[in-house]
């Protein structure tokens, strides 16, 4: 038996299944064991990547409607009673009948207004969730890149090497800036996948800080969901063109990050 944490413990750690005492003991071990820390990180990354990849299939609209009908059938008898009761109104009900109709109309208008409000509210919430999800995926990818000791897939500071490397690998093209500010350097690039679509991950360094710039094709009908400005202590800065979505993520100060993303944005209009 080695001194390292067992696979079962690492799994339980990633799954949040350790008791407080176990967690304290594991945390203490991780402080002094880089190997186990690395494996714990791997487990955690594998779990979160599996979680994202597992969310694969959307409910078809027709199935949703069918299930709504089935699920709501439970309360159908009550509705039937209501309908029957309303049909008992006779023509002789006179003003009372019209007052009833007016009340129904007012109710419908009010319900319509509420429905529109709810749809808008839901849209706002969905956009917020999407922004957060994009930021999470980008930060996961950035952290994963920082965590490994291996060089990028294309290791070069020459934009004339980095850009052509993507030919045939991604279905779009982009420009890289000619001149970078002092202390800023292109380190290389990786081909990655974000939301199951290929993206170029450009790796820069600004001083001792690392920056990932993700460039992805803008799809038809894509709504403008810029990622959240901050995620797990990293700052994000983005822009988009008619063809591209570009997001930079780093722990460097915001001014330097904005400067770099500004240079990349200007390079696209060449």
């Amino acid at each position: 038996m080695s001194d390292h944490l067992s696979a079962a413990t690492l799994n339980a750690l990633a799954d949040g299944e350790l008791t407080e005492e176990e967690l304290a003991s594991v945390t203490e071990h991780l402080h002094g064991c880089p190997a186990c820390t690395s494996h714990a990180l791997q487990q955690s990354l594998l779990k979160s990547a599996t979680e994202r990849a597992g969310q694969r299939y959307e409910v078809p609209d027709e199935l949703r409607r069918r299930m709504e009908r089935i699920a709501s059938s439970q309360s159908t008898p009550g509705r039937m009673v209501e309908r029957r009761r309303s049909s008992l109104l006779s023509p002789s009900d006179g003003p009372a009948k019209w007052a009833g109709w007016a009340a129904v109309a007012a109710l419908l208008l009010s319900a319509g207004g509420m429905a529109v409000f709810e749809v808008n509210e839901r849209r706002v919430q969905t956009a917020a969730v999407q922004r957060k999800a994009i930021a999470t995926e980008l930060s996961d990818q950035h952290i994963a890149t920082l965590a490994v000791n291996l060089p990028p897939q294309v290791l070069s500071s020459d934009r004339h090497t980095v850009k052509p490397w993507f030919q045939g690998k991604i279905p779009f093209s982009f420009n890289l800036p000619d001149n970078l500010p002092e202390g800023t350097k292109l380190e290389g690039a990786n081909l990655v996948y974000l939301h199951n679509r290929p993206a170029a991950q450009l790796l820069y360094s600004i001083g001792s800080h690392r920056v990932s710039v993700f460039v992805q094709q803008r799809t038809t009908g894509t709504e403008d969901h810029a990622p959240a400005a901050e995620q797990e202590g990293f700052r994000l800065s983005s822009f988009n063109t008619r063809e591209l979505d570009v997001v930079a993520i780093s722990d460097v100060d915001p001014a330097n990050l904005a400067n770099l993303i500004g240079l990349i944005e200007r390079a696209q209009v060449r």
Binding site: A7, E51, G54
Partner: protein
């Protein structure tokens, strides 16, 4: 970029709903997602979800208010799957009982240190943003391992809930999770090796 809305939907169920509709509809996206993974085709997945809804609606009177509705309906989905055409076919093609030792107590011995290869370069594993590769790796999992990954990682259920749904001891759940992750890691590493990452 798009995000499947089901995850959020399943988490926003704390408003003390009480009718079947209120409890079941927010779980529909998650149920369909798991059903599609298990059956591997949309038509069978729709049938499975519909059958699950009908069965759970019929049995809703016996559902104990305040207990775990999500675990309850997933258990119905899973049992319905096992007796479905695709479920029976999957069970026939996978030598489940031989491949997986179901005795939870002895399970840890099956993956002592081998489940995590400590010499494996991290990078091969961490190319996890390649969702196509992950989909491929998940598709290769035997059904008992796939379902535990879906419930644990995708549905974020606790081991105890998973044990209830699968009707197995917690030790077996842990064993399957370890095996599933080892399988995924192996597939991804093999995939990375064949693709070659260097320019």
């Amino acid at each position: 970029m798009t995000l499947l809305p089901w995850k959020r939907a399943t988490r926003e169920t704390n408003a003390r709903p009480s009718s079947f509709e209120d409890l079941a509809m927010p779980l529909l996206p998650a149920l369909y997602n798991v059903a599609h993974w298990l059956t591997r085709n949309p038509s069978d997945a729709e049938d499975l979800v519909q059958e699950t809804f009908l069965k759970s609606l019929r049995g809703f009177a016996s559902f104990e208010a305040g207990s775990n509705f999500k675990a309850w309906i997933f258990r119905i989905l899973r049992n319905t799957y096992l007796t479905s055409r695709s479920g029976l076919a999957a069970r026939r093609t996978v030598a489940l009982e031989e491949e997986l030792r179901e005795d939870g107590e002895s399970a840890p011995a099956a993956y002592p240190e081998g489940a995590i290869d400590r010499e494996t370069p991290e990078l091969n594993l961490i190319r996890l943003a390649d969702r196509a590769a992950l989909h491929g790796a998940m598709e290769k999992l035997p059904p008992p391992l796939l379902e535990v990954v879906l419930l644990c990682d995708v549905e974020e259920m606790k081991y105890k809930e998973i044990a209830t749904i699968l009707e197995v001891p917690i030790g077996t759940v842990m064993s399957r999770i370890a095996r599933a992750r080892a399988h995924l890691r192996e597939s991804l590493e093999s995939n990375s090796f064949h693709k070659g990452f260097r320019a």
